[in-house]
Amino acid sequence: MSALRPGGEDFGARLSFDRGGPGRRAVDVPAWTGKATPLPDAHLLRDSLRLPELSQGELVRYYTALSARNYGIDSGTYPLGSCTMKYNPKVDDLVASLPGFAAAHPQAPAEDAQGTLRTLLELRRGLAEATGLPAVSLAPAAGAQGELAGVLMITRALEDRGELEKRRRILVPDSAHGTNPATAAMAGFTVTQIPTAADGSLDRATIEQELDESVAAVMVTAPNTLGLWEQGIEEVAGLIHDAGAYLYGDGANFNAIMGRVRYGDLGFDVVHLNLHKSFSTPHGGGGPGAGPVCCSEELAPYLPTPVVDECEDGVVRLTAPERSIGQLQQFHGNVGVLIRAYAYMRALGLEGLRAVSGQAVLNANYLRVLLHGYYDLPYDRPVLHEVVFSGSRQRRANGVRTYDIAKRLIDHGFHPPTVYFPLIVEEALMMEPTETEPPEAIEALAEAMVAIAEEAERDPDTLHAAPLTAPIGRLDEAKAARRPVLRWQEAEAEE
């Protein structure tokens, strides 16, 4: 445990700023031996800079100790629903870091970056094939930025049709990720929430009733956040198009259907993918990700800039679509992530992607049957990539909340599932094992969940106190928000 609690100290109380000592340094800087130019006038210069002073070894030990206080997919099973935490192939990191890719300047002429650009072009073509949507921009840095791009594309298309003034609403299911309504609002639309029907699918009657000339788009997550397929979505797409609106697809859960059905064939107009989910690029504790946006021919002129194109002279270039919504970033997106995703696609091929979706769905169903009877299953039917249990039985009978169950799972060596989402499931426990977990790992996870369900009846207090074996216990989140301490300078002033 020495790495987890070095010297038994209150490790979190001492930041790098509180370690080392004046005059120590982790790296040196070459001296300038040429002719010295006077510095600018003093009023333009800084007079103080407070940063840690650590030797190289101290700095390395500090961050190594921090890494030991983290849990990643390389540490163990990580069934965080809707996040598709699967194993991240190491070769993807290796190829993305090759010096030729690393050194490319974002403003370099296309001729100097053909290796990067051709890789992006082939990724673009692969994503178009896999989604059945012919036009793709790789620019969005994450799913939420892809969503913003997609909704702004719809905005611009409506503007060109002269209908933007009247079409001010976007319909969003109540099971959607929070980014969907937040994006719709950011793009200037009002959000109308669509309830989920008893079988876990979109409430068709409400959609039909709401669809009128004030609707710009319907945002649908497919498969949805309950792990279920929206049956008849291809018919709903027809209704939406008949009403003059667009069907936006949140492709966060693409992992479940890769190689088996395509958004374009189903009638989706525009979809974003999360390459840090389905295409297994590492999540990095909160990014970088990539959220490419894929669309129909009709919406192609509105794609964000840049788009990767092969020109007639055989040179691959970045271009601006004719009626583009514009740039989303100063440069071209999270290119390093895109190279990793390309490597993943090439390592798998079509058969591999089909094997991914097949095994991901089988693993989720295997977990579903292993836990059946121990936890409530509000939508009790076969699922796709994930299964959403409810801890409401444990709450009613033993006063144990989903929160407690999640924390106790840490003591069994697992990362907890997503909790309290989707919002429509009481005490939700949303579990997505992904295809990269072997059956034994799923069985061990299920055994731990069963043991916790039994413990909830026998010893609820232990669950309330969990985790007991983590590097740190439950933290006072209310205090953190009530009296925010957000930087070392404040923490120091307090002491």
């Binding site: 407070r50 010096p99 403003q107 309504p181 297994s280 504790g285 190279i339 591999g352 985790p467 930087r487």
Partner: protein
């Protein structure tokens, strides 16, 4: 092409063998995998998809090594800057950032097993606040331009005004992204060539430091002019230059954004990038993105003693997953790992090292500019104090000068001759940093002299 063993696992990334699958299918109660997809529309199932065949790992490495080799090499002299600068990155930054407990973690929703990510993010916020002179930093946004767009949206929320002003010279990409992001809210974007045009209609004045053509900006008079009209000052600052320059907060800025990529690693064609975003305390609850706060354990540790210190995501009532359509931004996944690399680089350099590196950059750039200005036929138009980028006018038109440098194996600076600033007329914008090898500067000076001799 791979050759999986009959009955074996379908791929190295997928462990279940045929026997495992058969056992699992039986337990689930279906005959085959296809049965699990029965809800998908039959007519559209299993379409023809044209993807290239799978590659084994050695084949994949060979292919991408070949591709990487098709880019111009790292050893080729290159003087492009304009928003992306080659820096000397300490080896410890890449080493520590590649630890898989950091790399393969998700967003830290479970703080008990995410203290590595959370405490590192608190370090990042502390470093960003120190450099920028702000009170609150988030954990980072996508890149400088989208962070600046978010700053404009925050300013319009805070002031309830319907227009934003951007002061030239500013990166054209920043202008583009601000336009994209503010379209939904129906905001007016004014591009100013003088601070005199700022008015009470504007929510904020956005100023780049150093500016797009390299000059160091005296922020204080701009802050005063903006504040006189109730306008917030947003500064888009290069965090590396802030090792030397006065902090924007000290000069009166209200919000500071910046690009962190260059202190995190190689340019990598622009991304992954890192958008710095920090503000004064009054804007804390209007901030976009994740924020980490310090707190204590709720209970004493099992082995006794005082509750220990830990870190959590906080002020989450601003965020999309709680507030949904009333959130301050839709941002979720951003650039955590790049923020970690940025933090380690800055902390490895420390207060002395960062200042020394920034001064070295300043000295090397000024020395290179002086050598070029001394060549017959060349001038470096003067725009006052500058940091690492300078304008060069040569004996031939810019396009020709750039082309002739390329023919000599040298990547020229950006052609800015079509800009409105008089000093940019007929000029290329060159960047020289602390990481530009001496031999590259020598090669540039030699090539420029030879071009003049031919002209």
């Amino acid at each position: 092409m791979a050759s999986p063993a009959p009955g074996g696992a379908p791929h190295p990334y997928i462990p279940a063998t045929e026997a495992d699958r058969a056992r699992m299918l039986e337990r689930v109660g279906v005959d085959d995998l296809d049965a699990l997809f029965a809800d998908l529309p039959a007519a559209m199932r299993d379409p023809t998809i044209d993807l290239p065949p799978a590659l084994t790992e050695p084949e994949l490495i060979a292919l991408l090594e070949e591709r990487a080799g098709e880019n111009a090499g790292a050893s080729q002299p290159n003087f492009l800057g304009a928003g992306a600068y080659r820096r000397s990155i300490p080896a410890v930054a890449a080493h520590l950032t590649s630890r898989s407990e950091f790399v393969t973690a998700y967003t830290p929703y479970q703080p008990e097993i995410s203290q590595g990510t959370l405490q590192s993010a608190f370090e990042y916020q502390s470093v960003v606040c120190e450099l920028t002179g702000m009170n609150v930093s988030n954990t980072g946004l996508y890149d400088v331009a989208s962070a600046t767009a978010e700053a404009c949206l925050l300013a319009t929320r805070a002031t309830r005004r319907g227009a934003v002003a951007l002061l030239e010279p500013i990166h054209p990409g920043t202008i583009e992204v601000v336009r994209t992001y503010t379209r939904g809210a129906g905001l007016r974007v004014d591009i100013l060539t003088s601070v005199d045009a700022v008015s009470e209609e504007h929510a904020c004045l956005v100023v780049q430091q150093p500016d797009f053509l390299g000059a160091i900006v005296d922020l204080e008079p701009l802050a005063e002019a903006a504040h006189a009209s109730g306008v917030l000052l947003v500064t888009v600052a290069d965090p590396f230059a802030l090792g030397l320059l006065r902090s924007p907060g000290d000069a009166g800025a209200d919000i500071v954004t910046g690009e962190g990529r260059d202190l995190a690693g190689a340019p990598a064609f622009g991304g992954p990038s890192l958008g710095l975003f920090a503000a004064r305390t009054p804007f804390m609850r209007q901030m976009p993105g994740r924020i980490v706060g310090r707190t204590q354990e709720l209970h004493e540790p099992p082995e006794g003693g005082e509750p220990r210190t830990g870190y959590v995501l906080t002020l989450q009532a601003r965020e999309q997953f709680i507030r949904r359509e009333r959130a301050t931004s839709n941002v979720s996944t951003a650039q955590s790992l790049i923020a970690l690399a940025f933090t380690i680089t800055v902390q490895a350099l420390g207060p002395q090292g960062l200042r020394e590196a920034a001064e070295l950059c300043y000295q090397r750039a000024h020395d290179a500019a002086a050598r070029i200005a001394a060549l017959p036929g060349y001038e470096t138009p003067d725009r006052g104090p500058w940091f690492q980028e300078f304008l060069v006018r040569g004996p031939v038109p810019t396009a020709e000068l750039a082309q002739r440098l390329r023919e000599r194996g040298i990547g020229p600076g950006l052609d800015v001759s079509s800009r409105v600033e008089p000093e940019a007329q007929d000029a290329l914008l060159f960047a020289v940093t602390e990481a530009t090898p001496d031999a590259h500067v020598d090669a540039l000076v030699e090539a420029l002299a030879a071009i003049e001799a031919d002209a």
